[in-house]
């Protein structure tokens, strides 16, 4: 009898151990399939599991371009990831409208963890007054220039106004130095230029309203002016800009063949890793110059990338806990050490702990008055589809600014009918 009881007890204990040993499994999806980023996420997941032994994090990744399509399909199935990568703006907002994303506001307010994040980097994840995501990686667009080539051309300081930028390009051309490296085969590259110029060339309330697909009319004459400003840069781009990928243009910039390139801040650590030795000391940065338009010159084009939680997750508490860890202090320090990126958590490192150029460029983000989202992420897909084609035609000098905006207005009219 005693023996039987012992066996029953042992069996029960074993069953309990099995039941509680991996009681929660979270599916985590990101878009970095290559090292060192993929290794970083694997390590963060393992670190989190050590803190929470009853939670297992199943890390999955899909490359950038297919991610944009696959996530839509996954969110329509019962196999949606619990925590997944996203770009804030319209890319995420449509999922929010379809109730696919968890409202994080109560989770962030109840323990006050919201105040540990930089407000301007959480703001992009706010939709209709609620917070839906947290920032993983700060990013912005800046002009990176080759100081040696600038010196050769007799340019003594980085341009502050658009007129100074054009003047610098003229001097570079006169010195037989290639001016601006630009690879627009993917079409997203031109959206960063136009987004910056639109913001500077238009009153804020106008371009914000036009970004809303339910209201946007795109009739303000500032848009045509914006395209005329962009057209002034086109002669200083490399030939066949629409036929070259951004990566190829960047390689040529790193090889010292071009003096200037409009790059994301997150590309700078990659440049420092991949460029010839000593290239890092040769480069400087400047923000998109002031075009003297009605827009605020202190806004910066760029938005954080981040992560959200699926509204259908079976484990919201655990998923939010992982999200907070992923975007928190410990993971933030690892992110800077291994990848050179800053997350949106406050005071993760001091200025002495990172390379000066990394700290300088990140400070631009943290000190900017407001961030302006990437235009291709913020626009309705159909409007961006037409806009990207028209901008390619403008870059090839086969379209005029007036005709481009006419096409945008037409598609905007069609899109408004959907709402």
């Amino acid at each position: 009898m005693k023996r039987k009881l012992t066996w029953v007890l042992l069996l029960s204990l074993l069953l309990c151990a099995v039941a509680f040993s991996a009681s929660v499994e979270l599916k985590f999806l990101h878009r970095w399939t290559q090292e060192p980023d993929s290794l970083f996420f694997d390590e963060v997941a393992r670190d989190f599991e050590q803190l929470y032994p009853n939670i297992k994090v199943n890390v999955q990744s899909i490359a950038n371009d297919p991610f944009k399509e696959k996530i839509k399909v996954l969110l329509g199935t019962s196999d949606a990831p619990d925590v997944f990568f996203t770009w804030p703006g319209e890319f995420t907002n449509r999922f929010i409208r379809a109730d696919r994303v968890l409202d994080l506001t109560p989770y962030l307010l109840r323990d006050g963890s919201l105040w540990n994040y930089v407000g301007s980097q959480v703001e992009p994840f706010v939709y209709q007054g609620k917070i839906y995501g947290l920032p993983y990686r700060l990013d912005a667009k800046v002009f990176v220039y080759n100081k040696e080539l600038f010196q050769k051309a007799g340019i003594t300081k980085a341009p502050v106004t658009f007129a100074e930028l054009i003047d610098a390009c003229k001097k570079l051309k006169a010195a037989k130095i290639n001016q601006i490296a630009f690879g627009n085969e993917g079409t997203w590259a031109v959206s960063h230029y136009i987004g910056a110029i639109n913001q500077k060339s238009l009153p804020e309330d106008v371009w914000l309203k036009d970004l809303d697909p339910a209201q946007g009319v795109w009739t303000h004459p500032g848009y045509v002016e914006s395209l005329k400003i962009y057209s002034q840069l086109v002669p200083y781009f490399n030939p066949f800009a629409n036929g070259i990928k951004h990566d190829q243009a960047r390689i040529e910039f790193m090889a010292g063949k071009f003096a200037i390139m409009y790059l994301e801040i997150v590309e700078i650590p990659e440049i420092l890793r991949e460029a010839p030795t000593g290239f890092g000391e040769k480069i400087g940065v400047f923000v998109f110059p002031d075009t003297k338009g009605p827009g605020d010159p202190d806004y910066l084009v760029g938005y954080p990338e981040g992560f959200v939680v699926s509204a259908d997750t079976k484990y919201p508490e655990e998923a939010v806990a992982f999200l907070k860890y992923l975007t928190g202090r410990e993971a933030g320090r690892k992110e800077i050490e291994q990848l050179g990126f800053f997350n949106g958590y406050r005071n993760v490192v001091g200025p002495d702990e990172v390379l000066p150029i990394i700290y300088e460029t990140t400070s631009l983000i943290l000190n900017s008055k407001r961030m302006v989202n990437w235009l291709d992420s913020d626009l309705h897909a159909k409007i961006w589809d037409v806009y990207s084609v028209q901008l390619q035609m403008l870059t090839d000098l086969v379209a005029t600014p007036e005709n481009v905006m006419k096409e945008i207005q037409n598609i905007a009219t069609e899109v408004r009918k959907e709402f």
Partner: protein, 290 residues
């Protein structure tokens, strides 16, 4: 009676698979094409044939059909036509057997390489600054011909078509080689006795004898032309300026870029109807002649 009923039991699993994986998706697709829906939203709105009227009013649909038709035309001429000529030449004993085997293998190899690898290779060949084509043109003093082959709307579709001809001509050549090898040699011996030269032997013996394989190759090539997707998606993505859109990318764009699964389903139905009609007409025409 019991015996014949029992026999049907053996057919049921295969029939079930065909119904589940072939016919059910087709019917489901037709059903979905009558709705406005996205992949991630649970709501769907019945809109009848609105998706179809939208397709036929969209200029991009006609651009896509035109590109598919162009692709089919060049593919039939090059893959089937030139592939057949290559097969006849290689089997015609104009070269020794070792060289014959060498050429057969070399011409066939591109067809076993994955389309993504070929498209990436072609992307570099056509690159405007570091590509092979422009490099050769530069060396030959033909700088005025240098262009971004995949980014120029006038040349992009032809550059992609050329890529496919390079990849698949060898495959069709091998199919035709098999057919040519089956022709009884006595026919050629009799023709030689009658004084026929190589050209007349080809026209009066070879081509009629391989007619069935020609029909099959043409059908495969034309159906493949209307199912085109990966070649365009990897090289140009449908650009520049939508100049290389084909039905496959047009459908993909609607379903996954614009989140309009219903519209995408309607395009899929149109592709199905087109390819089915072409196949039926071809088979009816050519089998009717027999």
């Amino acid at each position: 009676m019991r015996k014949s009923a029992f026999n049907y039991l053996y057919v049921i699993p295969a029939l079930g698979m065909v119904l589940l994986f072939v016919y059910f998706p087709i019917v489901s697709n037709v059903y979905n094409s009558l709705f406005r829906m996205s992949s991630y939203s649970v709501t769907k709105t019945f809109i009848g044939f609105e998706n179809y009227t939208r397709i036929f009013k969209d200029p991009l649909f006609y651009t896509s059909i035109k590109n598919n038709a162009l692709y089919a035309l060049f593919s039939v001429l090059c893959q089937v036509g030139f592939g057949t000529l290559l097969a006849i030449f290689l089997e015609g004993r104009y070269v020794g057997s070792r060289l014959r085997n060498f050429y057969r293998n070399v011409l066939f190899i591109p067809s076993v390489i994955s389309i993504s690898a070929v498209a990436l290779l072609w992307y570099f060949v056509c690159n405007p600054t570091i590509g092979l084509i422009n490099g050769l043109l530069d060396k030959a003093g033909l700088q005025h011909l240098i262009t971004a082959w995949l980014a120029n709307p006038k040349t992009a579709i032809f550059a992609v078509i050329a890529m496919s001809q390079w990849q698949y001509t060898g495959y069709i050549m091998v199919l035709m080689l098999v057919a040519v090898q089956k022709i009884p040699p006595e026919l050629y011996e009799a023709a030689v006795i009658d004084g026929a030269n190589g050209f007349r032997k080809t026209i009066h013996i070879t081509l009629p004898s391989i007619k069935n394989m020609l029909i099959v190759s043409t059908i495969i090539t034309i159906i493949g032309s209307f199912k085109l997707f990966a070649e365009i998606y990897v090289t140009t993505g449908g650009g520049p300026y939508n100049a290389t859109q084909v039905l496959g990318t047009y459908m993909y764009r609607a379903a996954f870029l614009f989140d309009e699964m219903g519209f995408g389903s309607a395009i899929a139905v149109v592709i199905f109807v087109l390819t089915f009609t072409v196949s039926v007409l071809q088979m009816k025409y050519f089998s009717g002649e027999d």
